[in-house]
Symmetry: C2
Subunit: 142 residues, 2 copies
DNA sequence: CTTGCTCCTCTAGCCGCTAGAGGATGTAAG
DNA sequence: CTTACATCCTCTAGCGGCTAGAGGAGCAAG
């Protein structure tokens, strides 16, 4: 019997993770090294592809590689309590909420800058002026 | 007459930019190299400190170093039209708005995951399940 | 047999810093 | 005057999460 599995390019298109990124994930130990063909090519099975898609989805949702490591380890032990997965997701939610809050303050500041700009000379430009003097900011979170 | 100016540490505390970061800004040409004392130490004048504070504020507002380069160049020509500064700020605003939109979608997705989690076993964990299958996402922006 | 694609490994680069080694200088107290 | 300690200098390497490119081997089709 011959070894079977998809080559890395197919694993890439099926999972949506780029080829060099797959190799990178193997390098950092996020994905275990797959078997190789006799010509030394990586061979991925369906489970590998699923894992890659899982990783990609988690990355899209902004989870860090370390968090994904935890989630993947959990996924491999279906009998365990999912409290840990829950905690990871909750931490991510808190992070996202904080980012939204600070970006919203930023947005207001930028709008104020732009609206205040009379499109004249740099000397009286509101954008430059506010950047030069934090005291002119309304939202001090930054 | 002796050369005058503040040493880098004082420039750092006054501008709020850390010492190694100031040197880094000089390295990448964001801040021009200041004169040196006879013992080869950098000497910063008030204008340098103002420039550093400007840079810091712009970074806090999320402007990239290249955008700041543009803004600094503009600031040096007060007679010019401020249309360019306006454009830089508008681009930044668009970017911030896009980030807020995608983070808001993410937040909804994470909340849905967490609420759906019955705190049981990993096998029926909603968090893991959604991560494993993008099709279960409501918000497809990611 | 040749063309052109995929695959391999390895190294270096991206951004915006941050950390640390190893050494010279400055300042203040004993 | 010495000793201690802070501050400064340069240089190199590292962070996260990839991405790009060199240089070479293999594979499938015409």
């Amino acid at each position: 019997m011959t070894l079977q599995g998809a080559p890395i390019g197919e694993a890439a298109t099926r999972s949506g993770v780029k080829v060099p990124t797959i190799r990178y994930y193997e390098l950092i130990g996020l994905l275990s090294a797959p078997p190789r063909s006799d010509a030394n090519r990586r061979l991925y099975d369906d489970d590998d592809v699923r894992r890659l898609a899982f990783i990609r989805h988690a990355r899209e949702l902004g989870f860090e590689v370390d968090a994904i490591r935890t989630l993947l380890a959990l996924q491999d032990e279906p009998g365990q309590s999912c409290a840990a997965a829950d905690a990871v997701a909750r931490n991510r939610l808190i992070d996202v909420e904080q980012r939204i809050a600070s970006l919203t303050a930023l947005k207001a500041e930028l709008e104020r800058m732009i609206v205040g700009c009379a499109h004249g000379r740099v000397a009286e430009c509101r954008v430059i002026e506010i950047l030069a003097d934090h005291g002119k900011c309304v939202y001090a979170q930054h």
